[in-house]
Symmetry: C3
Subunit: 228 residues, 3 copies
């Protein structure tokens, strides 16, 4: 499953007609995370290491994807499944969704999920999830900043589609430049971030689509993006 | 406009009767950010660089101001206008206010606004704003932590005034020391922050107004601040 | 008081029957923070330094405790008392609780409380608390992420007890490993955090209780933890 997701996330990276990626699931479990059977002592150490390297590669593929990755959640997202959701750029969920990191119940603390969740919600919520294993409801997940929006289940598709339409109206190369910079700057000291940001703004302005955007605005016409 | 704001923010820095700065606007747009006409290809590269250096200087002037800078928002704050708001120490807005980073619609991703906003709201909200350009309502901005308070438009002035009155009851030099330390420590490792914080607390206590504060508390009288 | 708390937090560190620590208070003030009388100019500089080093030691004892530390708040938590609450892993409060950092009213800016609070709530709320000294209600503290949950006062004990029961169902050593890693990784760059996290996951899996957890899950039986 992780290999399939990594492959799918990277498959059409260079195809300018690819504008957004939606991660969704069938049934009432979005993802329950790792398969515990793969982690028994019988499996050798190298295999275990590989499993968690794969998980990191999957999260990195989302962060480094040139297009926005949207989680469409309609059910339970647990453990590494919750990490997967928290790592997406935009997270839209139905009011039936729940989010948890119950690993400690099975002897495996959700340490790597905690990396994504600890950067998405306040510490008082992240530690509650990790230490008790208790789920957040969709509403609590919204109140904690984990998800972008909560909608009734029957409106989930239309909400995600509207989000995609908003992204499609923009230049792919501009979105890609901006997304890459966001994740780069967020780990920096604020003044270093501004120094780098100034350069990125000038680079953006002088790109083909940067100039097309400004010109179309001034000429009061619809922009025609090159996307490159 | 940026030059005027920078000048105004720095003008009376040393005047101890200056106790707070309020940024507000006339009309139903708080600020729409940069003037896109200044960023056309016809303008040379050096001018473009200067524009974004100015923006950084403006944000830095807010952060480094010795007095609290309060955004009083009653309308739309977009792009660098949203960055300006997010950079203020305290943000009080009316329920009619909206906040957006729609730059990508015009080919210019709000990369530098994202520096301030990414440090003010959870990633799931920041990325939604940046990638879709869609606004947050005042209530959503409150729920995302972007603003301190939302009040009905007719109560905006009184809420801001009460906030200023609270600040005026305190020592200017104590507020200034504390504000400077807050922004210094927030980028540090928590243990390094505490080491530095211990020194700042001792420095604060042994200042004129530190001792006046303690003595007036013990003597059950109103403090008479020196402000220096 | 700080000495007593530090001693109590560290006393039974190695006792595997200790599973969680609850900080609570009698009366309607959880904690008002430092005793200002200790900080008068008459007291020497070395004593003042020691007081703030003690406070850091207290906060560090919470962070480094091998078991979850839960704040049970039913009243006012102010200044270093608010810092104490914000530093706990899980914070459950009654709807009568309030949270403030009013030090600047007494000439002493809550600089060290701001270290904990600035890492717990959005900047727009932390700066409001620090610069005005005004309290957040329990509900506002929840909306700002400062507290995990707000419950009616009469349900405070049962909510805290349920939380402890959830923790007791897990392995102490797994909880301890996970808590330690959470605070270690949160200060790291996200990719460095994942590299370290991969190692921690493999270590966790190959621990006694890691394997017991997985085996009990696969064998559909209740886990019997070793806790070591």
């Amino acid at each position: 499953m992780m290999n399939s997701l990594i492959e799918a996330l990277n498959l059409n990276k260079g195809d300018t007609s690819l504008r957004a990626i939606v991660l969704s699931a069938k049934g009432n479990v979005f993802s329950a995370g790792h398969n515990l059977k793969e982690l028994q002592i019988s499996s050798d150490l190298e295999k275990q290491k590989l499993i968690f390297q794969k998980a990191t590669e999957l999260m990195t593929s989302i962060i480094q994807s040139p297009v926005p990755v949207i989680a469409k959640v309609n059910g339970f997202a647990a453990a590494a499944g919750c990490q997967l959701v928290a790592t997406c750029d935009i997270i839209i969920c139905s009011d039936k969704s729940k989010f948890s990191t119950p690993g400690a119940n099975f002897g495996i603390f959700c340490s790597t999920p905690g990396i994504a969740i600890g950067r998405s919600v306040p510490k008082s919520r992240a530690m509650y999830m990790l230490l008790t294993g208790e789920p957040l409801s969709a509403q609590e997940a919204y109140e904690s900043g984990l998800v972008t929006k909560v909608v009734p289940a029957e409106k989930l598709d239309s909400e995600v589609n509207e989000t995609i339409e908003q992204i499609k109206r923009k230049s792919r190369s501009v979105i890609s430049l901006g997304k890459e910079f966001f994740y780069k700057q967020i780990g920096l000291n604020v003044l270093d971030a501004y120094r780098l940001g100034e350069e990125i703004m000038v680079k953006n302005i002088n790109s083909l689509d940067g100039q097309e955007g400004i010109n179309s605005f001034i000429e009061k016409r619809k922009a025609v993006w090159n996307h490159k």
